[in-house]
Amino acid sequence: MRKEVRIAGFGGQGVLMAGIILGKAASLFDNINAVQTQSYGPEARGGASRTEVVVSDEEIDYPKVSHPDILVAMSHEALIKYMDDLKDEGILIIDPDLVVEEEIVDFVKEHNINLYRAPATNTATEKIGLRIVANIVMIGAIVKVTDIVSVEAAKQAILDSVPKGTEDKNIQAFEAGYALL
C-alpha cells in the first residue's frame, strides 16, 4: 500500500532530517520501499522547509507526493500552505503550540480529517531538555499514529542518522513522542 507523507515547518526544526529518517526506516530497516524528496526552491532559503516521503511495500514508480495521506505541520505557515492538498479523511498531525487551531476547524470538519496534536517542541524542551530534538519527538508521534514504519525500524534509522554521543537523547525523544498520542 502506497502512503504519502509530507512534513513541513520552518528552517532549523530538522524537518528534512525527519523525512530522511522515515525513508531510511522504511527502506533499510523495514525492507519496504521509500522515496524521500524535498523542496530545493528559493523557499528552502527562507523560513519554510518541506520534505516528502513515499512509503510502499510495492515498487514506487512516481516518486513525488501530490495528495499526502499524512500531513505533519510544525508551523502555522506550513499548515496553511499545504493543508489543502491533504486527502479527505487524511491524517493531520500538528504541533499545537506552533499553529492557530481555530483557523483549521472548518477544514478538518469538511474533509473528515483525523487531527492529532503532538506538542513536539514543548516535549523536546521540557522533557528532554533539548529543543533541537523536536523533529525526533515528532517522528515518535508519526510512527504511533500512522504505522508507516515499525518502532524498531524508526529507532534504528534514528541511531543511524544522529551524531555520535546523542543517541540516548534521541531515543528518549522518540519514545516521548510515541507516548504523546
Binding site: Q36, Y40, D61
Partner: protein, 378 residues
C-alpha cells in the same frame, strides 16, 4: 560485503564513480549537481584520489582531460549553463579519444532559467552541442540505484571506446533519496598500456575501433592535438583524406558497436496496443500511468531508453511494427521525439507529451493521453 544506503541520487553517482575507479574530479559548483562535487571532495582523498574545485566549467573539463592523460579515471559534474560552457573541450575529448565521464544533472533551461527545477533540456545538446561530427555515448538514470549503476557503466564505456561519456541525469533523480545497494564487487574496465615498439603509432586504430591509451611520462612521447591528426598524432589539417578517415573512425567506433552499447528495458509490451517510450525520470510517471491504464483495461507497454546516445534505433524500429501508437513523454518541448519519429518513419503515430516548468509529468497527464488515443482508436 553488500552495503545498503539511503542516499541522494547525486551521492549515489559519486559512490558509483569511486566504485568504478575514478580517482580525479574537477568541478565548479552549480545547482542541481553540486552534491556530486561535494561528495567527491569528501570521498576522493580517502581513496588516494584528488579533488579540485576549478575557476569555471571550462577549466573543470580541461583539467579532467589532462588528468585522464596522466593515467587516471576522471569525472566532472555540472548542469545547464555549465554543460554549455564545456562544449568546446568535450569536442576535444572526442577528437583526442580521451576517456572521461561528464555528469549533467539537467535543470530548467535555457540560460539560468530554473536552477532548482528539473528538465530534460539537454538531450540534443549532448548529441550535437560541440561543433562538428561526433557520436556520443550517454546514459539516463531514472532511480538512485541506476544513477550508481550507470555511473559505473559510463566509466567502463569511456575506457572501452576511449571517449567522453555523459550521464544525462536530471534534478528529480539527482535530488531524490532511495535505497542504494552497493555490491561488494563491480565489473570495471581497466586501461591497458600500448606496446611501445620502434614504429609505434599512437592513433593507429582498427576500423570501427580504438587503440590502447598510453599515460604521459612513460616514454611513448606522443603528441595529442585537437587538430586533425594522422596516425602518429601529428597535425595534418589540410588533407581531406586524413580528416575523413579520422572522423569517420571516431563515429564508427560507436555506431558499429551499438549492439554492445545500447540498452533499453521493455515491460508489458507483449500484448500492448500503445507503447510509451521514455528516458530518465519520466519513466517513473510512465510506470504509474501504465498501471492505471491497465486497471481500466487499456493495454499499454513501456520501452525505457537507458542509453539515449547512440539512439537505440533497431529497438524503436521494431516496436513500430507491433503498435500503431507510441507516446513520448519528455521534460522539454520535444527533443527525443524527433529521433523516435525519424526511426519510426511513419509506421506508427508518435505522440509527444512535452512538459516544461520543472516538475515531472503526473501519471494522470500520461493516462489522459493514453485514453485520448485509446478512444480515438475504438
Amino acid at each position: 560485503m553488500v552495503e545498503e544506503q539511503f542516499v541522494l541520487g547525486n551521492e549515489a553517482c559519486a559512490l558509483g564513480a569511486i566504485a568504478a575507479g575514478c580517482r580525479f574530479f574537477a568541478g565548479y559548483p552549480i545547482t542541481p549537481s553540486t552534491e556530486i562535487a561535494e561528495k567527491m571532495s569528501y570521498l576522493l582523498p580517502k581513496y588516494g584520489g584528488t579533488f579540485i574545485q576549478m575557476e569555471d566549467e571550462i577549466a573543470s573539463i580541461g583539467t579532467i582531460i589532462g588528468a585522464s592523460w596522466s593515467g587516471l579515471k576522471t569525472m566532472t559534474a555540472t548542469s545547464g549553463p555549465g554543460i554549455s560552457l564545456m562544449q568546446e573541450n568535450i569536442g576535444y575529448g572526442f577528437i583526442t579519444e580521451t576517456p572521461m565521464v561528464i555528469v549533467n544533472v539537467q535543470r530548467g533551461s535555457p540560460s539560468t532559467a530554473q536552477p532548482t527545477m528539473s528538465a530534460q533540456a539537454d538531450m540534443m545538446q549532448v548529441r550535437w552541442g560541440s561543433h562538428g561530427d561526433y557520436e556520443p555515448i550517454a546514459l539516463a538514470p531514472s532511480s538512485v540505484q541506476e544513477f550508481f549503476d550507470f555511473t559505473i557503466e559510463a566509466f567502463n564505456l569511456a575506457e572501452k571506446y576511449r571517449l567522453p561519456v555523459t550521464i544525462l541525469a536530471d534534478e528529480v533523480v539527482g535530488h531524490m533519496r532511495e535505497k542504494l545497494i552497493i555490491p561488494d564487487k563491480v565489473n570495471i574496465v581497466t586501461r591497458t598500456r600500448p606496446e611501445l615498439t620502434d614504429d609505434y603509432l599512437p592513433f593507429d586504430a582498427p576500423e570501427n575501433g580504438t587503440t590502447p591509451m598510453p599515460a604521459f611520462g612513460e616514454g611513448y612521447n606522443i603528441h595529442v592535438t585537437g587538430l586533425t591528426h594522422d596516425k602518429r598524432g601529428y597535425p595534418d589539417t589540410n588533407n581531406p583524406e586524413t580528416h575523413h578517415n579520422l572522423i569517420k573512425r571516431l563515429c564508427d567506433k560507436v555506431l558499429a558497436n551499438r549492439a554492445d552499447i545500447c540498452s533499453i528495458k521493455k515491460e508489458f509490451c507483449d500484448d500492448a496496443d500503445i507503447i510509451i517510450v521514455s528516458c530518465g525520470s519520466p519513466y517513473r510517471s510512465v510506470g504509474a500511468a501504465i498501471k492505471m491504464a491497465r486497471e481500466e483495461g487499456i493495454k499499454v507497454g513501456s520501452l525505457k531508453i537507458n542509453t539515449p546516445w547512440p539512439f537505440p534505433e533497431e529497438e524503436i524500429k521494431s516496436i513500430a511494427n507491433d503498435v500503431d501508437n507510441i507516446i513520448v513523454p519528455e521534460m522539454n518541448l520535444g527533443q527525443m521525439v524527433h529521433e523516435v519519429e525519424r526511426v519510426v518513419a511513419g509506421k506508427a503515430n508518435v505522440h509527444l507529451i512535452g512538459k516544461i516548468g520543472g516538475v515531472l509529468h503526473k501519471p494522470e497527464e500520461i493516462l489522459e493521453k493514453i485514453k485520448e488515443i485509446h478512444e480515438g482508436e475504438c
